[in-house]
């Protein structure tokens, strides 16, 4: 695997004078309608955003994400000076530092902390330096390393979590159905959540298994975070020029013949 050309492995020689300007707007997310989150962020993200599973293009795997908008390019939580949210996901906070492939080695799967050179926040004069004069990582850089290390470790846990959910057949499609004024009903597809009834009626042994790994509380919190679609729609009403007459969350779209899957 190779990084895109703008993603460079952070290196004290290559990035000696590099600084990262802080951006309270997280403007790089202005037109992103979702972001991956880790399992330890479910409570924080779920206090503002709908939390669902999606399948990313060209991937068969489900990913846990926070939703910021209904369609591509739409982020209704974005606000200059600070988002309309009580929390911003970790990988958004660490940007322009990201996890990528180590371009200094031949090992194709070696991951390391990388920097997005295309970001306007990466510069020579303003913000937090990555390395000090002696070439040591600064406190800023260390905190980013730690956060990204956590994200990486958490991803393994999420993988186990999602495997369990698939094994127990607990995932179910979720669609947001929007009825704009004077136009036909539109279905926002491609999201999954947990099947509440199946979860409730899971055999005791499987429930205990989920509980022991702290997966059960994650399930409950993901389910409850669907209520945040109301917040998303409330913000959307203020920010997006679409007059919505009605909307609802459909947890049984599989009843329809052309269900997205």
């Amino acid at each position: 695997m190779k990084n895109r050309p703008n993603i460079e492995s952070v290196d004290k020689n290559r990035h000696a004078g590099i600084k990262v300007r802080f951006d309270p707007d997280y403007a790089h997310m202005k037109t992103q309608n979702l972001s991956a989150i880790t399992m330890s962020e479910i409570t924080a993200a779920g206090s503002s955003f709908p939390v669902v599973f999606v399948k990313l293009p060209q991937e068969d795997e489900f990913r846990l994400v926070a939703m910021f908008g209904l369609t591509q390019g739409e982020n209704v939580y974005y606000h200059e000076g600070g988002w309309d949210a009580t929390y911003v996901p970790l990988t958004i906070q660490t940007y322009p530092l990201v996890i990528g492939h180590d371009d200094r080695t031949d090992a194709p799967d070696q991951l390391t902390v990388c920097i997005d050179r295309n970001s306007a926040r990466v510069n020579q004069t303003e913000g937090d330096a990555l390395f000090d004069a002696k070439g040591d990582a600064t406190e800023f850089m260390k905190s980013r390393l730690m956060a990204l290390h956590d994200v990486f470790e958490e991803e393994k846990r999420a993988w186990v979590f999602i495997s369990k959910l698939r094994e127990f057949d607990l995932l179910t499609p979720l669609e947001v159905v929007v009825k704009p004024v004077g136009r036909d009903v539109r279905r926002i597809t491609g999201m999954w959540t947990l099947n509440r009834i199946k979860l409730l009626n899971l055999p005791a042994a499987q429930l205990q298994e989920l509980h022991k790994q702290n997966f059960l509380s994650a399930c409950y919190l993901i389910l409850s975070a669907s209520f945040q679609f109301h917040r998303l729609m409330q913000l959307r009403r203020r920010k997006v020029a679409e007059n919505v007459e009605n909307y609802w969350i459909d947890l049984e779209p599989q009843q329809r013949p052309a269900a997205n899957g």
């Binding site: 409570t43 924080a44 779920g46 206090s47 503002s48 009580t86 929390y87 409730l200 005791a204 429930l207 205990q208 509980h211 059960l216 509380s217 409950y220 919190l221 389910l223 409850s224 975070a225 209520f227 945040q228 109301h230 917040r231 409330q234």
Partner: protein, 263 residues
């Protein structure tokens, strides 16, 4: 049992001509910093408010109940907004106003409950409002929707009794403190609140855990715990409104005090 003088059972003979003012801002709750939550609305409340346990003032046996936190001092509701609250949900105990579950004052049976009206509420008017009855004396959809809210409160309260009984039985409460620090360094503690102890929840045996799953109380416990994150929303709104000149804050779960004895 009898109602207070200002509480009247809704009746088309008595109230046929009365109207209820549209109440977008729920002005009666403008100065209310805590509001009772019933079990069925936990998800909706926890999506907006921190839900914590408090001792119900002047209650028998120091009754402990979950409430949504709207403000950190008596009289403070930072979610209040004239154009409609800064929330995606308003608790049923606020929505119900000016209706209340009371005794049916038209019958002899002293325990018969009915939808009652807080007669001296400024929302009860003669004109410019929503009718409770049609010209022919039938209940309007509006009044029917009020019956429904009160019914849900009544049912939700009973479910909450059951929930609280098990919370006490398994000793799940732990104290919660919010520590506010003013810009000048002055500290203030907000105390008297409790939450579910994550540790005690984890230490429950498989049998009790299964029992709590079966009655859907385990999700309730986790939702209440997760709702503490909404204290950040409360502080965000509070600082935006510049209450106390803007404060730093810290949330402590389980400080070195003992939870109160079970009711």
């Amino acid at each position: 049992m009898k109602n207070q003088d200002n509480i009247e059972t809704v009746d088309n003979k008595r109230h046929g001509k009365l109207k209820i003012k549209l109440n977008v801002d729920q002005a009666q709750a403008r100065d209310q910093n805590l509001v009772s939550v019933v079990l069925t609305e936990l998800n909706a409340c926890a999506s907006n408010f921190a839900v914590v346990f408090i001792e119900v003032p002047e209650s028998e046996n120091k009754r402990i109940r979950p409430v949504a936190v709207l403000g950190l001092r008596p009289g403070e509701n930072v979610y209040y907004n004239e154009a409609g609250w800064d929330t995606t949900y308003i608790p049923l105990m606020v929505q119900r106003y000016p209706f209340i579950v009371g005794f049916d004052d038209r019958v002899e049976d002293p325990n018969q409950l009915a939808t009652c009206l807080i007669r001296n509420s400024p929302m009860v008017v003669e004109a410019d409002g929503i009718a409770m009855f049609t010209e022919t004396g039938e209940e309007t959809d509006f009044l029917k929707s009020r019956h429904q809210i009160l019914g849900e409160i009544f049912e939700g309260e009973r479910a909450m009794d059951d929930f609280m009984q098990r919370v006490h039985k398994y000793d799940l409460l732990t104290p919660l403190e919010i520590i506010l620090q003013a810009k000048n360094g002055e500290m203030r503690k907000v105390t008297g609140m409790y939450t579910i102890s994550m540790q005690k929840l984890k230490e429950l045996g498989p049998q009790v855990t299964q029992e709590l799953i079966d009655v859907e109380f385990l999700p309730a416990c986790y939702l209440i715990l997760g709702s503490l994150f909404q204290l950040h929303r409360l502080m965000q709104l509070r600082n935006k409104q510049n209450v106390d000149g803007g404060l730093d804050y810290r949330i402590d779960v389980g400080p070195q005090t003992q939870p109160p004895a079970a009711a």
